[in-house]
Structures are given as structure tokens and as C-alpha cells.
């Protein structure tokens, strides 16, 4: 059992949890993920590591409430335990030798972008962060990002906070202004990662994206997480989750991620939580 030692609601739909998992914490690095199961009846879901404390033996996860499992997870509180918590899985983001990076987070993707920004900053790299959100109400991790970046740019789709526009607008402006990035790291909704990759492609800037396909075991067995990178089948759990954004077939990923959409909508209505409430 893995104890929740801290829980914080970051916005209406996004929750942070710090979990006691000493073996995972000891090894975790930016870009890796864990697989958790809330209880005996639960799904196995992958969540990218948002932070880790090698000494304290804890791993932080930040998740958006989107389906039955994240809804169920969000009802747990400090002191409660998760049934399973395994990792760290996947390859760590390759940050060695990077001198100037632009780290881009979109919405809850900021949670995953944060440890990479932090690792780059601690490595002595020049770090610009662009954090994009739909509106002011869902801005998360502003203080945290400020502490690990040289420049922090917040954008909102409606202009209610920071600059109005998409992260790609800001990225393009920064590149055009003469910033020479040797790495752009984009983590967020699939369309955002697709358009960031499109933005950097003409400039030939190395662009890494962190993919989030459907996954079960997370350790190289089920093949559910296969993605098309450069025309080849790759498995996000063992070959990724980071891939060259200029090679990823994002449209295929978007399509495959919608496989259970109808069933998920259905399960929200019939989910165990609602059944529990009805009892």
C-alpha cells in the first residue's frame, strides 16, 4: 500500500498528491512515469512523475479529473493509501548538454514539464518556460515555474491572465526575436504538442514531446501504447515516453486515445462512485 502524505487541489479539476513510494522515489527522474491502481477493481493508469524527493522517499503526481479512475483517485485524502504504485517507468528526458531550452507546458501538462525545467535549471541551462492555459482560473504551478526558469511566460486563450494567445504564438515570437534554443520540450494536450512541433520544424530546433497513449502494464508487454514515430511502431512505455516531435504521427495518437471515449462517458454515469453515493 502506498500512502498519500499530501494532497492539494491546484484548480477545480487538477489535484496534486505526494505519495510515499521509497523504491520509486529513489530512482525517479524527470520525464519518467508511474503506473497506479487505486483499488482492487481499478484500472492501471500511467501518470508522469511531477516531482520526486529521493531522500524523503516520495513521488508527486498531478492529475486532471477526466475519467472514472481520476475521479475516484481525487476522492482519496491524506493518510489514505493507493493499492498499487509501480515505477519509475520509461526513459528519463535527455537533458545532458542542453545550454538553452524552452520548456512548454499546456494545462495539466505543466505538471510534467515542471521537473524537466527544474532539472535543466539545476544543470545550469538557460531556461525559458511558456505555460499555456485556457483561462486565469486554471493556472497552476506559477510560483514553482518562476523558481526554476530565467523567463516565465504565461499565456491564456482568452487573455484573462498573462498574454492572450497560444503557446505557439509566444514560442514563435521568442524564436523570431533571436533566442537560439538547442532544445524545445513540449508537454500538454496532443494538438498543442503537434503545433509546437510544427512551429519549430522550419527552424530545425530539436523538439521533444512526452506522449500519453493508452497503456496497461507500462513495462513492455501489452503493446497498447504503440505510437507511430518516423513511420515505425514504437512503444511509449519502453522506447519513450519522449519522442522527436518532428517524427511523431500525432493524428494517429489522437485517434487511438479516443478508443474508449464512449465507454468512459458511460462509465462516469455508472461509475462505482455514483453507485457508492446512491447506497
Amino acid at each position: 500500500m502506498y500512502k498519500i502524505v499530501k494532497k492539494r487541489q491546484l484548480n477545480e479539476n487538477v489535484v496534486l498528491m505526494e505519495i510515499e513510494a521509497p523504491f520509486v522515489a529513489k530512482k525517479a527522474l524527470a520525464g519518467q512515469f508511474i503506473i497506479l491502481r487505486v483499488d482492487e477493481y481499478g484500472e492501471r493508469i500511467p501518470l508522469t512523475v511531477a516531482d520526486y524527493d529521493h531522500e524523503k522517499g516520495t513521488v508527486t503526481i498531478i492529475f486532471q479529473i477526466v475519467g472514472a479512475t481520476t475521479k475516484l483517485l481525487s476522492t482519496l485524502n491524506e493518510g489514505d493509501c493507493l493499492k498499487d504504485f509501480a515505477g519509475p517507468l520509461g526513459k528519463a528526458t535527455e537533458l545532458d548538454g542542453v545550454k538553452k531550452a524552452c520548456v512548454i507546458g499546456g494545462g495539466v501538462g505543466c505538471a510534467i514539464a515542471y521537473p524537466s525545467a527544474k532539472a535543466l535549471f539545476n544543470n545550469g541551462a538557460q531556461v525559458d518556460v511558456i505555460a499555456g492555459f485556457r483561462n486565469k482560473d486554471i493556472v497552476i504551478l506559477e510560483e514553482e515555474f518562476r523558481a526554476v526558469s530565467h523567463n516565465l511566460y504565461i499565456t491564456t486563450d482568452d487573455g484573462s491572465y498573462g498574454e492572450k494567445g497560444f503557446v505557439t504564438d509566444k514560442l514563435k515570437a521568442l524564436i523570431e526575436a533571436g533566442n537560439q534554443y538547442d532544445l524545445v520540450l513540449a508537454i500538454g494536450p496532443v494538438p498543442m504538442m503537434k503545433f509546437v512541433s510544427k512551429t519549430t520544424e522550419p527552424y530545425g530546433i530539436k523538439t521533444l514531446v512526452s506522449l500519453n497513449p493508452i497503456m496497461i502494464d507500462g513495462s513492455g508487454m501489452c503493446g497498447g501504447c504503440r505510437v507511430n514515430v518516423g513511420g515505425e511502431i514504437k512503444f511509449a512505455c519502453v522506447d519513450g515516453p519522449d519522442f522527436d516531435g518532428h517524427q511523431v504521427n500525432f493524428d494517429e495518437l489522437m485517434r487511438r486515445n479516443s478508443a474508449y471515449k464512449e465507454q468512459e462517458a458511460h462509465s462516469r454515469e455508472n461509475c462505482r462512485l455514483y453507485r457508492k453515493e446512491a447506497e
Binding site: 523504491f23 477493481y41 498499487d84 509501480a86 519502453v238 461509475c271
Partner: protein, 462 residues
């Protein structure tokens, strides 16, 4: 006077049109009377060819003689002196190509139902004995086993019986490996796997779940933690795909994923959250046991039509005869000498059909089986909404990529000394699918057994 009936005592089974709608066990097992009757078919012949056909050398005629006289517990004791997982083997071993394949009674008529009798003894013991395995006196030496599948559990059990302190590290949340994620409930109830695992725990084996060796801990760290030897039984790895157009469509599964959702995550039960696509028409590509399992699961999950699409003939299918027979009885349609060339999607990216070609058999290939050759202009389309690829796997990369000194062959399988199962690194042994590529439960168990013996010899004077 032996019972000279040419046929085995029939196995009581759920009726085909009933069982293809539920996940309960298909074969119900012999009663005591049936077991005794079948046991008397054994001639107890002197040279015991059956034993030579068994990868773990069960003393077959000896245990059958005890069944014949009604001494079922004694029969169980004889089996378990060499086989740690009898309830599993009795159900899933390919007996026809092993023990029963060598049985003298099989020359004229059916061989003795050795698998059925083994299962009977194991089930009898589970139902009637409250005896708990006792932890032997410890010799103080620690051994780590990677993977709680058939090879790992066998290796762990054999070492524990010799007094070693064994810890099994399992990546999943449940022990059992392919016995829990791959082989379906209706062929091997998970409660039985859990009992076999419990037996090992009673022997003192410690099982740590959610531990992915190669990630959570490395093999080197296991040695640093005081383990004197490591056995790697990490199993088969990533599923293979055909590389044809349309394999990215929604509704195309690897058999590993389909079976894991169904068996490990119990997608067939309402109270479990893991989803699975509700299919109407399913094509399973492949001809092995995994293909049969996937097809029979699809039927039980409610598919109206399920095809097996296999590029060779029925004779060449690698699946156990019984699985093929059961799948046919349950209404699975066999499309042999057919091979997919393309999967076709609808406007939402979901599978709607699969284009295939007809094949014919040519000259024998390297495997000795006749090579399938495409018949020209034989293309046709099957209307399906789900395609399950059951065409094999390639070994998991996590351990070999994080452990120095482990040689692999060109397919990525760990290289071992075939006698001792030692890898190219001292103190590290391996067995099962991680070494052979996808094979059977019993071969993996045999490898686990060999490794346990070699580890004992290696650590004996340390």
C-alpha cells in the same frame, strides 16, 4: 488386469453453447471414480517413456499406480516431489506432445489421460487437505527471482525447499505472470494460481509485487542487497505486429493487450473498471494457444462471430489439439490458409474490415513446416470490427538494457548454458520465454527447475 478400453474416460465439460457465454472453467475435472478408472488404463510399463516426455520428470507411472488404489494424497506427494505447480500443469501442458505423446497405450487407441489425472490429484489435495507446507530450515543464503511466472515460481519453490531465502520480484500487482494475465479463467481459474502461489509463500518464498527489475531496481542492486544469485524469468515481451496498413486503427489489439484486459484486469466483470471494446465480429490472427485463448475470450465477451485467420493449414497449427477442438466446438470459425494484407477503417478510424489473401502450402521451410505461399488474385474482404494480432512477441528489453555482461542473441533472447541456465554473467541465471522466446508454461517450469539445481550447486560451497 489393466483396463483395456481404447479411449480415455471422458472429461466432464460444460456444454459448448453454454460455456461460450461464461468464463467458468470448461473442463470440470474427474470425480474420484473416473480417476481410478482412468488410472487402471496405465500398464505401468518398465521403461516409462512418458517420464522422458515430461520436462520436469514427474514420476508418472508411480503416481498413477497410487491413484488406481485410491491413495490420492500419496499420488499428490509423488507428483509434487518434482513438480511445484501440478494444478496448473494438469490443465495447460501440451500433454499430447509430451508425456501422453510417448504413452504406449497411444499406439493403439488413446494414451492414458496423464494430464487429467495430475489435475485430479492436485484438485483433490486442494479440496481435502488442510496441511500447510512448512518452511524448511533456512541455510541463510538469499536468492532473488525476477518475475513470478511459471519459471520464476518453479525456481523459487525448488530453492525454498532446499532452505534458501527466496524473494520473487514481480512487475505486476499480482503474482502468476502469464498464468494470470494470459491464460483465461475458463482454462485456468485464477483462484488455483493464487493457491499455488500461497503454497510457495508457506514454504517461505517472499513475493514483492510492483517491482520492475531493470527500472525499480537493477540486477546489480540485487547483488548489493545481499542476494547471492539472481534468476531472470521476465517472460515474453513486446507483441509483434504484421506491419500491414491499418494496424493503428481503433479495434486492433495485440493478443497480449486483449488478454491482459480480460484476464488480469477482469474487463469481463462489471465491477472492474478496465474497459474493452464490445465487438460483434472479431478476427484473431495466428494459430497458437494465445490465438485460441483470445478467440474464445472474444466469444465469451459477446462477439457474435469470431474468426481464426491463420496462414497455414489446420495440421500446422501450433496450438494444443484440445484448444483447437474446444474453440471449434464453441463456434469459432477457422479460416486456415488465409493471411491478412490490410485492415480497413471507417471515417472514425475504427476497424470495419480486413482484406486477406488465400495461401497454399509449398516446400518445407527452416521450421520443417511447409511454407505458405500467396495464391495470386485471391484477395477477399472479411467484415470485422476487431482484429487481434496473436503472432508472437519479442523479449522484454528492460533487463538486458540495464544489466552489464548479459549477452543476448540476435532476437534479443538471453544467452544461457543450456544445462545450467547460467547467463554470460556469474551468478545470474535465466529461463522461460526470456531465453526461448514465446514457448509453453511447462518448458519455462523445466528451465526454472534446472536453474534451481544449478544455483544450489553454485551456492552450495559459498
Amino acid at each position: 488386469m489393466p483396463n483395456m478400453s481404447l479411449k480415455k474416460v471422458p472429461m466432464p465439460e460444460q456444454a459448448a453453447d453454454v460455456r461460450n457465454k461464461n468464463f467458468e472453467e470448461v473442463a470440470k475435472g474427474y470425480t474420484a471414480e473416473m480417476a481410478v478408472e482412468e488410472a487402471t488404463r496405465c500398464l505401468n510399463c518398465k521403461n516409462k517413456p512418458c517420464v522422458g516426455g515430461c520436462p520436469v520428470n514427474v514420476h508418472i507411472p508411480d503416481f498413477i499406480a497410487k491413484v488406481a488404489t485410491g491413495e490420492f494424497e500419496e499420488a499428490y506427494r509423488i507428483i509434487t516431489s518434482t513438480n511445484g505447480l501440478p494444478a496448473v500443469c494438469g490443465r495447460v501442458c501440451p500433454q499430447e506432445s509430451q508425456c501422453e505423446g510417448k504413452c504406449v497405450r497411444g499406439i493403439k487407441g488413446e494414451p492414458v489421460g496423464i494430464g487429467r489425472l495430475e489435475r485430479f490429484c492436485a484438485d483433490y489435495h486442494m479440496a481435502n487437505s488442510s496441511e500447510k507446507a512448512e518452511k524448511p530450515q533456512s541455510n541463510g543464503k538469499k536468492v532473488a527471482v525476477v518475475g513470478a511466472g511459471p519459471s520464476g515460481l518453479t525456481c523459487a519453490g525448488d530453492l525454498a525447499k532446499k532452505g534458501y531465502e527466496v524473494t520473487v520480484f514481480e512487475a505486476f500487482h499480482t503474482a502468476g505472470g502469464v498464468l494470470v494475465y494470459g491464460i483465461p479463467q475458463f482454462r485456468l481459474p485464477k483462484e488455483i494460481v493464487a493457491k499455488e502461489v500461497k503454497n510457495l509463500e508457506d514454504l517461505g518464498v517472499e513475493i514483492k509485487t510492483n517491482m520492475i527489475i531493470g527500472k525499480t531496481l537493477s540486477v546489480d542492486e540485487l547483488f548489493e542487497m545481499g542476494y547471492k544469485a539472481v534468476f531472470i524469468g521476465s517472460g515474453a515481451g513486446l507483441p509483434s505486429f504484421m506491419g500491414i496498413e491499418g494496424e493503428d486503427l481503433i479495434g486492433v489489439y495485440s493478443a497480449n493487450e486483449y488478454l491482459t484486459r480480460t484476464n488480469l484486469m477482469k474487463a469481463y466483470r462489471d465491477e472492474y473498471d478496465t474497459p474493452i471494446i464490445k465487438s460483434k465480429t472479431v478476427a484473431v490472427v495466428g494459430g497458437g494457444n494465445v490465438a485460441m485463448d483470445a478467440a474464445r475470450c472474444a466469444k465469451r465477451l459477446g462477439a457474435e462471430t469470431v474468426y481464426i485467420v491463420y496462414r497455414r493449414g489446420l495440421e500446422e497449427m501450433p496450438a494444443r489439439k484440445e484448444e483447437i477442438h474446444h474453440a471449434m466446438e464453441e463456434g469459432v470459425i477457422f479460416r486456415n490458409l488465409n493471411n491478412p494484407v490490410k485492415i480497413i477503417g471507417d471515417e472514425n478510424g475504427r476497424v470495419k474490415a480486413m482484406e486477406c489473401v488465400e495461401m497454399e502450402l509449398g516446400e518445407p521451410d527452416d521450421s520443417g513446416r511447409r511454407r505458405p505461399v500467396v495464391k495470386e488474385n485471391s484477395n477477399f474482404t472479411l467484415d470485422v470490427d476487431t482484429v487481434i494480432m496473436a503472432i508472437g512477441t519479442s523479449p522484454n528489453p528492460l533487463i538486458r538494457s540495464t544489466t552489464k555482461g548479459l549477452e543476448t542473441n540476435r532476437r534479443g533472447c538471453l544467452v544461457v548454458n543450456e544445462e545450467t541456465m547460467q547467463t554470460t554473467r556469474e551468478g545470474v541465471y535465466a529461463g522461460g520465454d526470456a531465453v526461448t522466446g514465446a514457448a509453453t508454461v511447462i518448458l519455462a517450469m523445466g528451465a526454472g527447475k534446472q536453474a534451481a539445481k544449478a544455483i544450489d550447486e553454485y551456492l552450495g560451497d559459498k
